[in-house]
């Protein structure tokens, strides 16, 4: 059983969701909620429903490090918890959008071996842009269906503020987290 476990880890299966992934996803979601809640004071003036969230790097990083399911749950559940803590209610389309921001980098995780290499960092940066584009796109454009807002409103008030700030946080903070995690992995021999 142990040897099978080792082989599975070496193969780094994309859709694995074992005990470790359950814990990583739960820790990631709780962390995303706590850090988001702590930074709630920074809101973007005039942008509906959108706050400045350095914590968005957490689902991206958990996706890169532990796969797409962990990334998705970190973003999806973490956003639900953050909104519950902040008293913002329950907005499932924004929760799904946050989940996608972790899912897309997670899909890139099989291509990344050494987190310190330039190739890995560049690939992870691409995954950040794609993840935020798709995630915030799904969340923001769902407002057209929910609120009956037109394309311009959704673009200006929802999509652009969320996309620009999240991409910025992700692009800057994700490589730092990857390098720090790489050092921990090499120290502990994981």
């Amino acid at each position: 059983m142990y040897s099978n476990e080792v082989i599975k880890q070496e193969k780094k299966p994309l859709w694995r969701f074992g005990t470790k992934e359950v814990v990583y996803a739960a820790i990631g979601a709780a962390l995303y909620a706590v850090v988001t809640w702590a930074f709630n004071v920074w809101q973007i003036p005039g942008a509906g429903n959108v706050g400045v969230r350095p914590a968005v790097v957490i689902p991206m990083f958990f996706g890169i490090a532990f796969g797409p399911i962990v990334g998705f749950i970190t973003g999806f559940v973490g956003n639900i918890l953050a909104d519950l803590l902040s008293g913002y209610g329950f907005w499932v389309w924004w929760d799904i959008g946050n989940g996608i921001m972790g899912l897309i980098p997670g899909l890139f995780s099989v291509m990344l071996v050494d987190f310190k290499s330039l190739r890995s960092i560049l690939l992870s940066e691409v995954s950040v842009v794609l993840g935020v584009l798709l995630g915030m796109g799904v969340a923001a454009f769902s407002e057209m269906w929910v609120s009956g807002a037109d394309l311009n409103t959704v673009l200006v008030a929802n999509f652009l503020p969320a996309f620009l700030t999240n991409v910025l946080w992700g692009l800057v903070l994700l490589p730092l987290l990857m390098v720090a995690y790489s050092a921990i992995v090499s120290q502990s021999g994981r």
Binding site: F17, V23, A26, L84, G87, G89, F90, S147, G148
Partner: protein, 292 residues
Amino acid sequence: MTMLVTWNYRYRNSLIDHVDPRARLIFSFAVLIAATSTWNPLLLAIIFFISISWYASAKLSWQDTKRGWLMISILLFTMIVVNTILTGGGAGGVVPEGGQLVWPAGFNLFGRHMTFGLTVERLWFAIAQLMRILSISLVFIMIPYTMDSRAYGVTFRKLGLPDRLAYTMELSFRFIPTLARNFQVTLDAQRARGFEMDSLKGGVLNKIKRIAPLIIPVTMNAIVSSEDIANAMDLRGFGQQKRSWLYELKYHWWDYVVIGFSVVLLGAVLYLAYRHSMRLFLVPQWWYGLFN
């Protein structure tokens, strides 16, 4: 900044407190789908009235929910006041071009003659939009205040989510106080080294520079500690058999009434919207009469 994490839920002995969380979620999603299926003012008014009644039955105070309502006010202001009433862009695709002007001859403001292209149709659309967004907001904003945090995992499990996913949700609720404490400890440690996070001065890059020394150690500590938890769970045979839940849910007859009502509401709105052409936006004649 102090990291005292508290859930917003407290028992208020309201009607909602006695309704099963599964029935509440089913009702909330029925309202969401019903409200987004139509622009008919009559149907939206009925859904709006049901949502207000549902919200009122939770006995929530303004003090409890003001933060959430502030966020919704910003959304409403942007979408309705700025985009539908002032610029008219927000009504695009739903309200036909042209229409009857509210002030066809213009009006005088501070001694100057002004013209404003607001139409009667756009004004009615703003009301319909307000009813739709508020209906959805009313049923969803109350969830954190009326649902016990211990109930989320088991609720999603009983609604069909796999055991592992439901348990992940349950576990994440339990990690929050620990992680909040770790965040506070890291923040204090960094402050002792001269780290300033509370200052809002500086541009975006300065802010990012200030955040990195906080987010990196907090995240790495969380990952390191999760290894021990996963090992402990494996040793106890996690995932080997079906889970039982400490917080148990049981349907009562009134829960079936709520679920039945949700199904009837959704079915009726969809039937009227798609079979009786009540899906599209229309302006009632009496509304035009107010501006003649």
